[in-house]
Structure formats: structure tokens, C-alpha cells
């Protein structure tokens, strides 16, 4: 495919139906069009910020040339070439690989909210890596909390940028030969946790999740899986095996393909404790800016800890109420994700909680070696 003008590129992306692979699944064509229209700087997000995520690092490790080509295609549009930076966690292998390749690396602190789109824009402009309020999309330029001007900047996930290069090279028809009509194209998924073969698979929407899991050889006794990390949902093995890998199918469980992480929980560990450690981590990752993040997320974690200690309907309702207060209130979607995760844990682990209330942990009874963290 030839890309002579920025319009050609947007046209190809539109035809391909490429959406952001970082989790939000927003139209890439729309973002690239806005980036060209506003002469936006580009930040390629290779942070793998979600718990268990490794696919950005995979793209950097195996497809760096195409990644750089894709970034050039996006930044080359418009009247003049704009700055391109590659964001990766400080000290990570990904950051080293990007640095070795001579690329402009934006070193990001290893904090959950720091790899969020607006955090990266803030950091790239000399601010702190904390989310900013989006009065309008930053691809149009804007101001930070202190009223300082923030130049137009677009943030694209590393896999997305790699896919842009692929779409241009092989064409929208090739791209659409993968996936479903609603979720077209190849997409990466990371398999991690209690699996014999952890790693990244280049797959597509619509494949049975059981096939993806089997490819990674999960622990034979596995019972639960987290899809999408801290911003995702918990599924039982039965639910996971009966669904396909697509947002359309996962929506039934409140989930989405998201940033492409499937985390098989260690069956020898009480799943309540796993959720506790997820939520405790979340509580410590607040940006200290908005109420739902600063107080809401820790109070969900605290309510959950109380529920695990003394399972009762009252404590269960307390978790549900606290989690229900998180969505749609912060500058970013971090509290929304944690609320969703906590709600799905309540739903899926209800039988396990009931067992706790009436006796010993089923995980211990099943004879598995138990180690608590």
C-alpha cells in the first residue's frame, strides 16, 4: 500500500477498523486524523502498565523496525515532523531495548496510573506522571491543572503503532481477515500466572478462550482467571472456557479484551487472598488527586479485607456499595477499573466466600499446598 498523504493513512486505518490496543479500543483512524490536524507530538506507550501485561515489551523485542516505521507514519503527517517519544517503565528491559535502538525514551516511574495517557503527556511536558483532567482531548492541546499550556500530543499503544505499520504494509483486507467484523484484526494477548508456558500469543478476537488458555498449558487444577488485570474482571474456569476472546463475549461478564492480559490464578492460593493483594496494590497506587482514587479505592480494599476476615452479608454489601461509588468520578478511569474488578470478584467468588463463612477455605480442603502472601 502506498501512503503519500496523511489522508491516505487515515483512510487505510479507517478501512481496516483498527482500534487502540491499550485497552480503551478507540478508533485509531480518528486519533491519527486528529493528530495530523493538530500537528500533535506522539508518545508511543510501551509501558505494559496493567498487571501481568507484557505485550508492549514483546512488540519492542520482536517488531521494533515496524514499530518505528509506524511511529514515523503517524508523526510524519501534517506540515512538519513532530516529536516522537517511546514511553517505558524506568529500568525495564523494554526501556533498555528502546534506548539501545537510539530512540527517544520517555522513562516512566513504575506506577500503575503513570502509564495512563494523560500521565504520560504530563510527564513528557515536564510534569509529574499523574493523570490530568481532560477538559478536551489532549490531541488538540490543552492546559494542566496549574494552567500551563500542554502542546497537542497523541498517545498510542505500542501494539497499535505496530499494527498501523502492518495495515500500511499488507492492507486493510489482510487486516480484516483476522478477528470478527466488530473487532477486526490480529491482536496480542499475554498469558501469565499459573501456566507452564507464559508468553504472548498473536491471536484474534473470536477464538475460544479455552484454546488460548490450553496453548499456555495452565495448572491442571486452575479455577479462576483474571482477564484484563486490575481494570478487568475475574472469571471462573467454566465461564472462561465457555466464552470467546472478544469484548462482545466478555461483556456478558462485565469484561473486555482490554489491554490483552489473561492471568491464571494459582489454584493452591486462596483466591480471596489474591483479590486482597490486587486491591491492596490498587490502594497504594492512588495518584492523590481525586477523591474516588484517594479515598474510594483504599476504602474498597479495606471493605474487602473486612469481608475476607468475617464473611457476612453486611460486609459483602459494604464492598458492593464502596465499589459502586467509584465509576465516572475521577480524572482517569483507574477507580472505574478497580470498582469493576471488585464487583466481579464479589460475584465470582461468592461460593468461595460462603464456604469461608461456614468452615475452612476450600483451597486448603482440596489438599493443595497453601502458601499465603
Amino acid at each position: 500500500m502506498t501512503v503519500d498523504t496523511p489522508e491516505d493513512l487515515v483512510g487505510l486505518l479507517d478501512a481496516a477498523g483498527l482500534t487502540g490496543r491499550g485497552g480503551a479500543a478507540f478508533s485509531t483512524a480518528a486519533k491519527v486524523r486528529a493528530a495530523h490536524g493538530n500537528g500533535a507530538h506522539l508518545v508511543v506507550n510501551a509501558c505494559d502498565g496493567e498487571i501481568g501485561a507484557v505485550k508492549d515489551g514483546y512488540v519492542v523485542e520482536h517488531h521494533l523496525d515496524e514499530l518505528v516505521h509506524g511511529a514515523r507514519l503517524v508523526s510524519g503527517g501534517g506540515r512538519r515532523r513532530r516529536q516522537v517519544r517511546f514511553a517505558a517503565h524506568r529500568g525495564s528491559l523494554t526501556a533498555h531495548a528502546l534506548g539501545r535502538a537510539g530512540l527517544d525514551v520517555l522513562e516512566v516511574p513504575d506506577r500503575y496510573v503513570s502509564s495512563e495517557e494523560t500521565s504520560l503527556i504530563s510527564l513528557a511536558n515536564g510534569g509529574l506522571a499523574r493523570p490530568m483532567t481532560k477538559r478536551r482531548p489532549f490531541v488538540m492541546g490543552g492546559t494542566d491543572q496549574a494552567g500551563r499550556r500542554v502542546p497537542a500530543t497523541v498517545v498510542l499503544n505500542a501494539e497499535t503503532v505496530w499494527r498501523i505499520a502492518q495495515v500500511v504494509e499488507r492492507g486493510p483486507a489482510w487486516f480484516r481477515s483476522f478477528g470478527t467484523a466488530r473487532e477486526p484484526g490480529p491482536r496480542l494477548v499475554a498469558l501469565t500466572g499459573a501456566v507452564a508456558r507464559p508468553g504472548v500469543l498473536d491471536t484474534e478476537a473470536g477464538v475460544p478462550m479455552g484454546d488460548l488458555l490450553d496453548a499456555a498449558r495452565p495448572d491442571p487444577g486452575w479455577e479462576h482467571v483474571v482477564v484484563g488485570g486490575l481494570g478487568g474482571v475475574l472469571l471462573t474456569a467454566d465461564d472462561a472456557r465457555s466464552t470467546t476472546w472478544s469484548t462482545a463475549a466478555l461483556a456478558r461478564h462485565g469484561g473486555a479484551v482490554g489491554p490483552g492480559v489473561i492471568d491464571v490464578l494459582d489454584p493452591s492460593r486462596c483466591p480471596l487472598d489474591v483479590v486482597t493483594s490486587f486491591l491492596t496494590y490498587a490502594a497504594g497506587e492512588t495518584a492523590g488527586q481525586c477523591g474516588p482514587c484517594m479515598f474510594g479505592v483504599p476504602s474498597v480494599a479495606e471493605a474487602w479485607r473486612r469481608l475476607v476476615e468475617t464473611p457476612s452479608t453486611r460486609e459483602l454489601e459494604a464492598v458492593r456499595a464502596a465499589a459502586g461509588l467509584l465509576p465516572n468520578r475521577g480524572a482517569c478511569r483507574f477507580p472505574d477499573g478497580v470498582g469493576r474488578f471488585a464487583a466481579s470478584a464479589l460475584e465470582v467468588l461468592h461460593p468461595h466466600l460462603a464456604a469461608h463463612a461456614s468452615g475452612p477455605c476450600p483451597t486448603e480442603r482440596s489438599g493443595h499446598r497453601v502458601h499465603r502472601a
Binding site: R111, L123, L128, A129, A146, G147, T286, G288, M294, F295
Partner: protein, 188 residues
């Protein structure tokens, strides 16, 4: 006529001080860590805003009559530019300076929705400067020889200082404490 203007000027001056003090007290109430919540906050904020406009009305009469009456030489220029008046240069100038600062506070509040929060806040803090300037201006010039007026001004001073102390001496707010603790962490 001239004499009555002089009295009007002094009376509106004292009224302005009293109203300004009320506005400062309400401002200290709504901005401090122990600020009221809910409907209460709405009422206090509304009174703070509208009373400040009422105060401006008295202040305009005070300034206008001081210029027009001819007992002392205060002209339009010295009503706007501090320390240019022939009469009591320092003390009239202090009042003029307070008015100039007040104009900045009013203007930034009027266009608050178009300004960065920080810019508005910095200018608004200068209210804590203009209030004592206006108070000293009134104390030295207008009310020093009239017991009721003097008492009013002193009472304003006591009430205002009390409100500011009440604001400053509040215990640290858990919201602020948490924000600061998180800010200490690694964010760059």
C-alpha cells in the same frame, strides 16, 4: 452641602470597613479547613459574594464624596494612584492602595471561570493585605476622634483577626495530608 458630603464620606467609609470585614470573615469561613458543607456552604458563599458587591457600592460613594467635597484636597488621580494626595499622603495613599488591590480581587473573581485556578487564588489571597490597609486607613484618618466610629473600626479589627486565626489554627485536613503524602512518592 459640602459639609454633608464630608459626613457622607466618613459614614460610607466606616460602613465599607464593616462590610469589608464581614466579607473577609465569610471568606475565611468558606476557605478554611473547617469550611461548611452542603446548603450551608452555598448560603455562606452567596452572602460572601453579594456582600462584597454591596460593599463596593458604599466604597464608591465614599471615594466619590471624598473627591467632590473640598475640605481636604483629594482629586481623582490620588483616588486611583496611591500616595499622590496632598492631604495625609501616607494614610490616604494606604486607602487608595487598598482600593487598587480590591479592583484586582474583584476583576479576577468576576473572570474567575476564565482564569487558571492558581492565578485567581494568588490574587484573592491579597484580600488579607487590603483588609488591614483599609482598616489602618480608617482608624488613622476618619474615626480617630469619634468614639462610636473608633469602636466600630476596632471591633472590625478584632472580629477579622479572630476569623483569620480560626482559619489558620485548624488541624491539618486529612485530604490535604493524603495529597501531600502521595506527592512525596516517586512521580517522575
Amino acid at each position: 452641602m459640602n459639609e454633608s458630603l464630608w459626613y457622607v464620606s466618613r459614614a460610607t467609609g466606616v460602613a465599607s470597613i464593616a462590610l469589608l470585614t464581614a466579607v473577609v470573615v465569610l471568606g475565611a469561613l468558606v476557605s478554611g479547613r473547617r469550611r461548611p458543607h452542603g446548603e450551608q456552604a452555598t448560603v455562606v458563599m452567596a452572602v460572601h459574594r453579594w456582600l462584597s458587591l454591596g460593599m463596593v457600592a458604599f466604597l464608591l460613594v465614599h471615594i466619590a464624596t471624598a473627591i467632590v467635597e473640598t475640605y481636604v484636597s483629594i482629586d481623582l488621580v490620588s483616588a486611583l494612584v496611591p500616595f499622590t494626595s496632598g492631604y495625609e499622603t501616607l494614610w490616604v495613599g494606604l486607602g487608595t492602595l487598598a482600593v487598587d488591590v480590591l479592583v484586582a480581587v474583584l476583576a479576577t473573581s468576576w473572570w474567575r471561570h476564565r482564569l487558571p485556578e492558581r492565578a485567581w487564588r494568588v490574587v484573592h489571597y491579597s484580600a488579607y493585605l487590603l483588609w488591614p490597609m483599609a482598616l489602618v486607613h480608617g482608624l488613622v484618618l476618619g474615626t480617630a476622634n469619634e468614639m462610636p466610629l473608633l469602636a466600630t473600626t476596632i471591633l472590625c479589627g478584632v472580629v477579622g483577626v479572630g476569623a483569620i486565626l480560626w482559619r489558620l489554627l485548624a488541624l491539618p485536613h486529612h485530604d490535604r495530608a493524603r495529597r501531600d503524602a502521595v506527592l512525596e512518592q516517586e512521580w517522575t
